[in-house]
Amino acid sequence: MSESMPTTPGPHAVPQVAMSTMSTLATRTGSWKYQRPVYHDRVAPCNARCPVGIDIEGYLNLLREGRVDEARDLLLQENPLPAVTGRVCHHPCENSCNRRALDGAVAIHAVERMMGDLAHQRPAPVFKGTPRAERVAVVGSGPAGLACAYHLARFGYGVTVYEAAPEAGGMLRLGIPEYRLPRDVLDRDIARVTAHGVEIKCGVKVGTDVPWSELTSAYEAVCISTGAHTSRALDVPGENLPGVRPGLAFLRDVNSGLRPSLGERVVVVGGGNTAMDCARSAMRLGAKVTVAYRRTREQMPAIKEEIEDAMREGAEFVFLANPVEFREQGGRVHAMVCERMALGEPDASGRRRPVPTGETFVIEADTVLTAIGESAALQNFFTDVEGSDAGLRVDALGGTSRNLLYAGGDVTDLERTVADALGAGKRAAIGIDRHLRHHAGDTAELNALRFADGNLSAARWTGRDPVRRTAPVNDVVTPDDVNYTQFRRAPRHGDPHLPSAAAVQSFDEVNPGMPEAVAMEEAKRCLNCGVCIECDVCMIFCPDAAITRTDGGAYVIAMDYCKGCGICAAECPRGAITMTQDRP
């Protein structure tokens, strides 16, 4: 105020005109509010749904920021085999991605593959935890076993893996065709595990070459991850005819380098990944393939892309077809009789149950490959271990009913996927570590290691999670929580494919992978659900100018001025702010 401006005398000292002399900061409008915003980092659905328990949002965010090596290390904290899962995982992450509601899920699978390959080119330093005196035996070198061994090694344990086959990898090597998972890729990922000091003894079958008792006495803990190798039977007449064989055995042959003779017409029975692998492998051996499945395409358990690839490569599909008999001619299968099915009421899996119609038809076949599921051939490792036809029963940390005996992967009664196996292996490793450290944590403590109700995080367990989260809460961000308008449409980058005609001529890898630069761009499509990435939207949109940033980058809400309108929470692109009741 100008000094020459007269004012009234007395207590008011009012100037002659209504000229402001101060800002509105004197008015504490924060007293108006009945709710207040709180920054809560929540769980992205990809993280929650990842069976491995990878902090997908976390490493995508690091990629967005150009911190590629840190992203790789965060990925490797949870997943020893990213080049493998980047090729063969059924990626529930993508299926749950909130970006689907906008313009298509982030191609996490492709980004992970790029990261896995990048980790081969630019290996991460081997992490050595504080060495522990205890030693652990792992039986089986499939994904569960490798994961368990890898994590235990990183926790500081000496680990020996016993593998019956001549080479490590289990079902990855024996069950998955090379055109999906080239052997050198598998070898390099397995090398990462051994680089951590894990010893893999191949060609040693526990129970035969080494007695179980030797393991239990020589090691402080044992993890069983022997897989499921027995194909389920159809239980129909003619099943034992020559030319009718389990798909899994067929795949094992092919993956071992054999090229069995199939004849001209091959029928594959089943709708899962094994069925697709059989169909596509058979086509690569020159056969004309028909896939018979008793439900419909929508209900096929195989990975969507695998079905698409099989179709693209020329496999025919007959749906609602249930084999009831195999017919013989010349001492060998000649045809498969199917009963036409119809869809009835939903069954326990939630899928509509196929019901017989009584109508039959015939499909001619020189070879029939059955792939309707596998069971773990429980070899009665220990009579006191609980299990069923579905596999061993394990607790949340892979523990069996017998002390210090853990299990993971297809040998258990859990989901049988590569990713689930990797996740189970990690759980068993954490379980063993807790046990050997006599760590008495409760369920709440365990839940804090999870991404919502998803898998445990090894990074959290070891306290080496590089991602700082603001007041984390363990609920999953839903599409309703995402403010899609804050995002520009950016269509999903697709996977490249070899031309089908060429692909089917060899066992070369069908998918050459997304170029690194494209994958980096794809990573930036991540919405970072539930995690504040300091995008400033809250600060910019606050009508009360009540949000500021400290020098360190954290947001501070001036509660003296926040009116509790909720705009920051509504406008937050990723649901990282929640409104809470201000007064009781």
Partner: protein, 386 residues
Amino acid sequence: MKKVMVGNHAVAWGVRLARVEVISAYPITPQTQVVEKLSEMCADGTLPARFIKVESEHSAMAAVIGASAAGVRAFTASSSHGLLYMHEMLHWAGGSRLPIVMVNVNRSVGAPWNIWTDQNDSLSQRDTGWVQLYCETNQEVVDTTIVAFKLAESLNVPVMLMLDGFYLSHTAEPVDVPDQELVDRFLPKRVATYKLDTEQPHAFGALVKPDAYMEMRWMQQEAFRQVPEALAGIEQDWARMFGRSYGAIESYRADDAELLLVTSGTVTSTARAVVDARRGNGEKIGLLKIKMFRPFPTALVRDALRGVPRVAVLDRNVSPGHGGIFAEELRSALYDLPDAERPELFGFVLGLGGRDITPAVIDEIIEQTRAGTVPSREDLWVGVNP
């Protein structure tokens, strides 16, 4: 330099000499020549002001308010309906304590339409927080325009200056145009007490609650209280430099008068002629001219009228339901004089809507006043044929 000019051009000359920086106005009879002349001056560069040619008087007043708030000397002019259209913004200028000067060419107010003079337009704006000065001659118009800026800027009050439509606005007579150099010395460039300034950002005119609004009004009243003294001082300076002055009121041949005519505006001149004639006959008749209506120069008129036996107030205006407005104000001003000193006051309403006021009309008023035939609380309408 003496020039023969109409009153409207005298206004323009006053504005030019005062080095007004921003003008905004809208044409209306009988003020139009002010707008035209100022446009001409701005166009030929003799007045380097910005002339904002707005779409209405409301905007004209708003524009000069904006300009004045931003620190420059600003001017507008209007008349009658134009002035009334400004009404809201007259209050805003007054309340904002902006030293705007405006000229109102007095014209009657419709309905019915009438373009001729009376004072109802400006008197109806008496409570808007503007000083009101009524001029008698074109010379007074030039001089008062300049004086008005000095007065306005010294107390942060807007000043409205009146001249009678046609009787001054369109009447050409010799005017001594003050020397620019002297005027510059008398009225230097405005230095605003407070203004819109991005270097010192303040908000003006925001919501003021009951706990302070009244203090601001009180300060406005205080400023108005200082106006008569301030005007006297400023006029002293003016007189020293230019040899002329007018005063808030002027007594003319009033010594020993038994009857005083009270006038404002151009009627004063004609009344002077009548007084001269009566004095020539030895009659003790004089004149009191009231130039300043707001603030009402209560102390000055009490002194001027104290002890005068009979006073005739000539009102070229009327407040329907009451009477002549100057007469009302005078009755109020004289009310608490001792009975012996309080004049007998007679009010006359005349000259509305431009009806001519001739010496004969004034003679009749004198006769009626002498005869005491006018009811003391009711003003007589002169020359009305009911």
